[in-house]
């Protein structure tokens, strides 16, 4: 009996070099490719925010009227009803007050 207590081992040459390279390559690729895809998706994770932002800026660029004080509908509202900004009716309908809710906070 040998010092290592066994007389037979697996033939280390039972995998050819070609098999070794293709199998290890396939294993590495199958692990790395999904990781790369996930990474790419993570890098592009905010694209929907940018797309929506761009959509609104495009709406602005294409608008005929691009400043609030030139909105004819708003001017009509002031003429017909509110008077002018911060008028009494404006204060009543379009302004508000806030309350202190902090006392319940520990």
């Amino acid at each position: 009996m040998s010092a290592e207590e066994y007389q037979y081992i697996e033939n280390p040459m039972s995998v050819s070099r070609r098999e070794f390279l293709s199998i290890s390559g396939a294993l590495i690729a199958l692990t790395a490719l999904p990781a790369a895809v996930v990474r790419r998706m993570a890098v592009k994770r905010n694209d929907y925010i940018r797309a929506r932002t761009a959509g609104l800026y495009k709406d602005d660029t294409n608008a005929k009227v691009r400043v609030s004080h030139a909105n004819q509908g708003v001017s009509r509202l002031y003429q017909d009803f509110l008077g002018n900004p911060l008028s009494e009716v404006s204060e009543e309908l379009l302004h508000t007050r806030y309350i202190d809710r902090s006392r319940a906070m520990a």
Partner: protein, 218 residues
């Protein structure tokens, strides 16, 4: 040929890998099932999650180290696990003769097998694929669930759950059969050796085709 002749079936590197796998996977499976069912208090669930994370790190490091330090074994294992042939169909047709042996105490002819029988090969393929999936999805869900796209994170959660349950069920069968094949059990947990005669009977193709005597090389 001496009746005491032995083959080194599981080299030390493989046994070390397997030790750490046992140490990590059993707690992972147990805590994983508990984390899915959520039966305990907040602090207990947190403890389970911490154990799950630590065990997951052990398993990941174990797998990574084995991949780097024993790439030859990984390749050999992969090749064996994914090599299927007509014999495997025949093996599955009689389910390796095990049900007949256990239930009917009857011995049926079984096609000759290599190092792993067809069932073990299927198990190996599932461990390889499932293990990579579990590690990848688990790490992602632990480290950066907020960075990956929502649908992907959801899919990762589902994959993690299904692969985990699948491998946990497989584990029960694996433990049962592993202890039943007690020589294999000793080989994996103790010395790595398996008697030549038994190997020649259980895995004739392996012994004939892939085994060499040490003396031939020295």
């Amino acid at each position: 040929m001496s009746t005491h002749a032995a083959i080194l079936k599981h080299p030390l590197r493989v046994r070390m890998f397997h030790y750490f796998l046992v140490l990590s996977f059993i707690p992972l499976a147990a805590t994983g099932v508990a984390l899915f069912l959520k039966p305990f208090s907040e602090a207990a669930m947190n403890l389970l999650m911490r154990v799950h994370v630590i065990a997951g790190m052990v398993l990941t490091l174990d797998a990574a180290a084995f991949f780097v330090l024993a790439l030859d074994r990984v390749v050999l294992f992969t090749k064996r696990a994914f090599t299927f042939g007509l014999n495997d169909v025949k093996w599955f047709a009689v389910l390796g003769g095990y049900p007949q042996k256990f239930l009917l105490r009857k011995k049926v002819p079984v096609p000759p097998m290599g190092k792993y029988n067809s069932g073990q090969k299927l198990f190996g393929a599932c461990i390889l694929v499932g293990g990579i999936l579990l590690i990848g999805t688990g790490l992602s869900l632990w480290l950066f669930p907020h960075v990956i796209p929502h649908a992907l994170a959801k899919a990762f959660g589902d994959i993690h759950l299904i692969a985990g349950l699948f491998l946990t069920l497989f584990l029960l069968v694996h433990i049962f059969l592993g202890i039943y094949m007690f020589d294999d059990f000793k080989a994996m947990f103790l010395h790595g050796r398996i008697p030549y005669e038994e190997a020649a009977e259980v895995a004739p193709l392996w012994v004939q085709g892939e085994i060499v005597a040490l003396t031939d090389r020295s």
